[in-house]
Amino acid sequence: MRVLVIGAGRVGARVLLQLKKNPRLTVVTVDPRERPYAVEQGVIESVDFHNELSPGDLEGVLRKVRPDLVLVTTSGEDIGRTGVPGLELLVESLRGELEATASVPIIAVARTGA
């Protein structure tokens, strides 16, 4: 099973740690940054695709990877600017847009307080 994880920030790192428990899963990662949190923390060595979280940018990745499941873990924090009003809402709307337009199952993983 191929799982595409969008976002390798704090939430993404936690998701990736869980996915690593099952070695039969093929995990592919997308994040616009060179060294996102999951790389810094050594959860993954590097990011597979450096694309933004937008339907247009991700269309090509989805075509290449052909995942069975997509987990969207990006939050405003991962876009690089915290405190911008509406950024979390924009990211949430982008996740919704992806869910609505992509032809593969997409699940948004919400950020928790921990």
Partner: protein
Amino acid sequence: MNRRLGFSGRFLAVLALTVLVLLLPTPEGLSADGKRALAAFAFTGSIFALQPVPLPFAGLMVPVVLVVLGVADAEQAFEPISRPIIILILGSLFLAEALRKHGVTRKLALISIVASGGDVARLLLGMMGLAALLSMWMENTATAAVLIPVALTISTRVPDQEKARELLVLLVLGIAYAASLGGMATITGSASNAVASEFLAEIRPWAFIDWMKYGLPALLLVFPPTWWALLQLVPVSVSSLDIDLAKKELGILGALRRVEMEVLVVMGVAIILWIGGSFLESSLSLPPTLMAPAVVGMVAVAYLSLRGIIEWEDVKGVSWGMFFAIAAGLALGEALKRSGATEWLTDLLAPVIGGSPLIVGLLFVVFASAMLTNVVNNATVAAVFVPILISLARDNPSFNAPQLVLPLTLATTFGYALPSASGRMALISATGIVAPRDMIRFGMILTVLSSLVLVALFYGLAVLGLI
């Protein structure tokens, strides 16, 4: 760690500016209290502009600083949070969240895409029209945040990347500008409108409909030239778009579901009562303020909550920043008045505004407000300058307060040039969709154009005796 240091640095800058104002010699005619109130203004303006902490926390710090500086006691400083206007804003934010949660806003966006038939000019008109319509009732930045992803999806239907980017810039700027413009029409549309309304209500009866009488025509007059100018400024080499995906998706989503209809009906009834509630109240001899907009808004929210249409989890993420910025603005404005700082500033501005023909006064307040709002929070602009204009009008029989207060407040909408101008501009700057140079260039042109239209409208209204 670096981020924390950065935030601390910005907070030190806020404190330094505040202390600098306190240390400057007191100008002639300004009391010691007035100087401390001006320092509070420096703190408010800079903390909202630099945002060393998220906006809601910044808003909460302002009343604290007013108390620390001795220009308000705790009761005076925190009292604005409980005002009906603040509760009305909260109600409208909660109602808008219900619209968003149930996908009504996205469905409306898809309808406007399909209705455009793929024509770029009509698509821009539809998206801008929807943004303006929604932001009359929703928080403007939230409107933009919900619609920008739709623009991203539409632009991906253009195979050529460069052309897709052109279209994206056009749509995103259109959504951001229109989301600002829509806020002109209602008291709930913008923090500055709410602040100005509170001050106007102190000198004359001022209801929801009174704002709309001037705000709506302003929106209707400024909107078309903005749409037209954008099409000229951002040429797009795409003549028509593939809208099949939107059609297909709309087909899958189907007609409005029962819950979506219910949200729309509740929102519609609330809007009707916000506009006509006071008339109903007097004609049906209902208890006073039973139909006050804040009460109506909260009844609508209570209904949606009782029906399970919105949960507390859904509304936790609303724009608390706007909520606290209005309360902070009101508390600051009152402190400036009490301390005598407003009177001092009025004396300074009297020769420019009070002694000039109305057209000159209008040009001055509209352009000053439109430029200032690029760096100062719009609620703060209204909180400082609306009481000054009210004070000026009291001393000058040649014009009345709304003739200048309304255009000044509405012009705070035209902060298009910098990311610090508004949440919308900060948002599109954060996404990197629009280059900073383009944001300034297009923003300045549209600020000048919109300001001239606004001046013409209010001058015309004054000449015709309609304001």
